[in-house]
Symmetry: C2
């Protein structure tokens, strides 16, 4: 067996069946098997194409099933639902280095199997062939820094708010305030792509006029991630439009777009791809079914994302800080060894972010390679958006210098105001 | 307010917050709001672009939250988690008739909101503009019947098994047995697309040689759904190859492909699209987070699916029969009124199907417009695959004539053998 040609997936499982029996059913379902022995499934074919159980570690048990619909062994009158961590592997020959078909293999029918009252894909290790077959991020951290000319500190970003409802001109007016205030990065809200009240083309024209004028005057080109989510042709056309207007970033809703859609855009793309994970809660909210971000983000990094959302510390959603930081660190961890093969992407902290989370974010990530995006936490600053941007800069200066934020606020008015506002 | 220009989505929710407050937070998050009032979110903008709560029906309460990570109201010492069904609506002007952006709106960030310890999208009603913007199924029931020349009864189908591991020639040899036995429909397994051991092009050539020869000899063209799941260019090339070899169907793994990928294929496609929902368990398994199939399948029907998988009665997975039948009936229910605008698709019953579920399937669906696909339940027939096909025909004759299956088996040897085998 050539280890380098196998896919390894880790699952957290819960089952009333003997562990090995349940996992073997899953391995069969996701490779050469069906629910009955069929004539063509010879021992040789099983050996060649069957998924293998690498190891099983029992982790505990519960007295009732965590998900409905699961079965119990025949004749079992007092079932116990045991939990385990297990690793299953497949030969790459089963599907070749194809992300959509990998998804069908490691995250397909198995979630519906009666054997399990809990099943989560928690990690994934892929053979080098996937890296050879996919382009990975085109810009990543270094490319994003180059385009924004921001070095040695996080990119300070914001989101166009209200999320939806502004006209192109109103959006551009907001952007004018933001760029004047010294922001590095702005993104469309994921709800705004090409709505009739704010058509994509008119928004790009209006916004890039502001950004280009500012760049000509000051030398600072603010990166705006235009949400081009849409049909395939629309996404390519919209990319070309952004490029033509001198824009430096496009944004995609991953779960709306799909892996082939993102990979297709990436191969056409000449700009960083800001990857938004909206809808991620579907995969993450239940502790009993779904995917870990550890596994999830590897698909999109290979397909070509440059920036990946990771939520933020003390966010308005329900993810804990440990999980957020683990996701963010993973974005900066190489997926493959070798120069330029790591597929590192810039983590994007967003959701309820204010000046108050910068120190813990810096401490937890151990790197300034991130985009720190605040919506209401920046533009609702009592001194206006420019003051909001300055407050964020001041907060990050404190965080990165190890200075107490309240101490730093004594001599920095906007930070002080922000601390009062976002108490 | 023009009702016909609004999107209506129903959710099952669970929250420790006052119902209206929690739902208003969700409506805000998914439209014009953020977690703080921002300057641009005027009353006029809210009125124009804000999502609206249409109604709320409390359905019960539980003593502990069903999902972790949810918050409780400040100062609440004895929280109760109330459940409700609610309908929220959006003006189509927020996103335009775009399925990927609709997904971001009705199935986006809301799943992560702290306000909810349970949130499922259970139904969706779309304005006519979506039907105008999307092609819908190209073949559907009538087109599939025309291509297979099967009228007045279900298409009897099977799946190439072993799922993965057969060479193109071995696949073709299996197909030769199946078509000789009188099968109407065969599909690739979702795990087999273009694996190195069974390349797509060679499989199509080998299989279509068999199917075309059989059609020349007998006049019966068996429909084979070739799984072309892959990158965008690959899917188009593979479609063209199938078409060139006289094939009559292509298959796509929906969750691997994404909405824009399917819509792009559809616009290029000259063949029915057999839509496989593998990975559906991710959305369906938890009663507390996810989507109903009622909502889910509407996206894919608009985007262009012709056949949609609905699991099967007494399946090997964990879905109950009521749910399977509700999904299948929905596939045959028009989404929009007007000639040719209903987007009806052929439901595909599959997973652990044998001769034993035909009567209940026919009774439950109230229509013979389905594909009845059996893998092991057909090819593992003790008399071989041809006998398996004959047994299935005999079973459906009984089901559709209201004859007891055991009675019918007295004079039908293959059915009798099947009943013994699949006891």
């Amino acid at each position: 067996m050539n280890l380098s040609n196998r896919i390894f997936a880790q699952y957290e499982i819960e089952t009333a069946f003997p562990l090995e029996e349940a996992i073997a059913t899953m391995a069969g379902e996701q490779s050469s098997g069906t629910f009955l022995q069929v004539p063509g499934e010879t021992a040789e074919l099983k050996e060649k194409s069957g998924a293998q159980i690498e190891w099983i570690r029992e982790t505990g048990s519960v007295a009732s099933p965590s998900l409905p619909g699961a079965g119990i062994p025949k004749g079992e009158s007092r079932p116990v639902w045991r939990r385990a961590l297990t690793q299953v592997s497949w030969p790459i020959e089963n599907m070749g280095p194809s992300l959509p078909n990998l998804w069908a293999t490691v995250a397909g029918n198995l979630f519906e199997l009666q054997q399990f009252s809990g099943l989560r894909l928690v990690d994934l290790t892929l053979p080098e062939a996937f890296r050879d077959a996919y382009p990975g991020p085109q810009f990543g951290v270094a490319g994003t820094r180059r385009l924004t000319a921001v070095e040695g500190r996080p990119l300070i970003g914001t989101i166009v708010k209200p999320s939806v409802g502004l006209s192109p001109d109103a959006t551009a007016a907001l952007v004018a305030d933001l760029v004047a205030g010294g922001i590095d990065f702005i993104k469309d809200d994921e709800l705004q792509a090409d709505g009739p009240h704010c058509p994509f083309a008119q928004r790009v024209e209006a916004v890039m006029r502001v950004i280009n004028n500012h760049a000509e005057r000051t030398g600072k080109k603010v990166m705006f991630a235009f949400n081009l989510t849409g049909e395939i042709e629309q996404m390519l056309e919209r990319h070309d439009l952004v490029l033509r207007h001198g824009g430096t970033c496009v944004m995609v809703s991953l779960n709306s777009t799909g892996l082939p859609g993102l990979a297709y855009l990436r191969r056409h793309c000449q700009l960083p791809i800001h990857a938004h994970r909206n809808g991620w809660g579907l995969f993450q909210r239940s502790p009993h079914i779904g995917l870990s971000y550890l596994a999830y983000q590897k698909f999109w990094r290979l397909a070509g994302a440059d920036h990946m959302h990771v939520n933020g510390l003390r966010n308005k959603f329900c993810e804990g800080d440990e999980s957020v930081l683990a996701s963010a660190r993973e974005c900066l961890t190489p997926m493959f060894q070798g120069e330029g093969r790591g597929c590192e992407v810039m983590p994007v902290f967003s959701s309820g972010q204010t000046v108050r989370q910068t120190a813990d974010t810096f401490k937890g990530l151990g790197s300034p390679d991130l985009i720190y995006a605040a919506g209401g936490g920046l533009v609702a600053h009592p001194g206006g958006v420019a003051a909001g941007v300055r407050a964020m800069h001041q907060s990050w200066q404190a965080a990165m210098s190890g200075i107490d934020i309240n101490e730093h606020a004594r001599t920095n008015t906007e930070l002080r105001q922000a601390l009062e506002k976002y108490a």
